[in-house]
Subunit: 290 residues, 2 copies
Amino acid sequence: MRTYFDCIPCFVRQALDAARLATDDERIHEQVMRQVLELAAELDMSRSPPVMGQQIHRLIRNLVGQDDPYREIKRRFNNLALKLYPELRKQIVSSNSRLETAIRLAIAGNIIDFGVNGSVNESDLNKAISESLTADFDSMQLQSFQDAIEQAEEILYLADNAGEIVFDRLLIEQIPIEKVTVVVKGSPVINDATMEDAVVAGLPQIVEVIDNGSDAPGTILESCSPVFRSRFSTADLAIAKGQGNYETLSDVNKDIFFILRAKCPVIARHLGCEIGSMILTKNKVGTYNE
Amino acid sequence: MRTYFDCIPCFVRQALDAARLATDDERIHEQVMRQVLELAAELDMSRSPPVMGQQIHRLIRNLVGQDDPYREIKRRFNNLALKLYPELRKQIVSSNSRLETAIRLAIAGNIIDFGVNGSVNESDLNKAISESLTADFDSMQLQSFQDAIEQAEEILYLADNAGEIVFDRLLIEQIPIEKVTVVVKGSPVINDATMEDAVVAGLPQIVEVIDNGSDAPGTILESCSPVFRSRFSTADLAIAKGQGNYETLSDVNKDIFFILRAKCPVIARHLGCEIGSMILTKNKVGTYNE
């Protein structure tokens, strides 16, 4: 997906939110704003929004002198999600369709996205969980997803954010686990999950976990390590979680299912859905099952 | 009032809204965005937000090659307000406090602000009118305003937007009309009222109307004509309508009453009120009655 004009004011607002979260120093807020505006003035609109996100958050980390301004937020949402995990797991096990319930909850976890909303809290998460269990959901896509995971031999699960990764675990447990490799970011960006978060979520005990070698808030293939790119190219199927992965992979010629909540108007328009919709959708340019 | 960091993403969004309203040509949208981002990167934050607004809208008019992209919007809201005028005037005349009711309605008219919200419609206006008649309102300030207009000999009423200027007429009719000079913008910017709108509102038949010689969406004194500046300096009292006039005159050492609806978080914080509050307030740096 390319960058749209509507993304630009949103980048500027996100940069200000992120700068404020990282430091109280207004001189740094000003430096961040001026440099982001200069970057945005020269932006290549044909590239996906996370290309700009990657630059913004590198800039903030450099100016603030912190490698991970979202560390405490990630810790907090991992703990919150881990507390909910046993009860949510019971709900899945006792439901009519375990896979569907697990997907619904994985989408609920996608609310924990500090790229889109810098003030997500516990009550937003609880609301997202209860909504996700009853909201409209495309069961045609569910059958197609189920077929795809049955037929695939090697599945990459591209995780999105910390906290959310515990909800991803609930879904991963409902798919043939021996086929799955979970992929996290190579180094911190916003509240995206890294290896540390996968470990906290207990994932390495049940599946292979690798990192993609990149600090982009999405999967920009040319920014990823050769090891990850090789795994991505050989895998039969990718499950890509969240907006950043959708934005960066929607035009990639590969069998990919995207699982996300459409949280911004640009994404919603691109997907042809309402803002807030729960999305399980197959990559249009993929060839799986066709 | 200076420009705050939070104004920057809002400038960028406003520029995009305004470019889209002026033309469907996406190449021009892109030129507007890139040039506004460059201007914003170099912005002098000590100046008021309308300094940037003036530059943005000059840029859009130049790139689009139209001197008044909001002409149709202004016509529409003038007509709408003129249709409401007779009934609103009756409400004022039959109310317990004519001045208070007229101020409340003048504040309702301030919703017609395409700088803040590019999609104001008739139902927003009707809602603003009914809310304005019952919402909280500081009657201490009302007494002080009443004293000030009684004691003043020469009052400048700085109008804000087209359509809204009909609501201003309702208020102007309730103050000693022989003391009042209404001031409109020197040339078009956003939907700000110019002489054409004052004429449509019937103001020249009841009061003196002058223009300020400027195309800023507010009253940037150094951008105004020498004639206006001289009138501003000799008047005893100014009544300044809307956010743009508040932003540009809040630090001016002059007796000014501001009448507005606080529509953005930055203005609300500066005034110490909630977003949406109806404001009648005296300039803190003024010396009147002190």
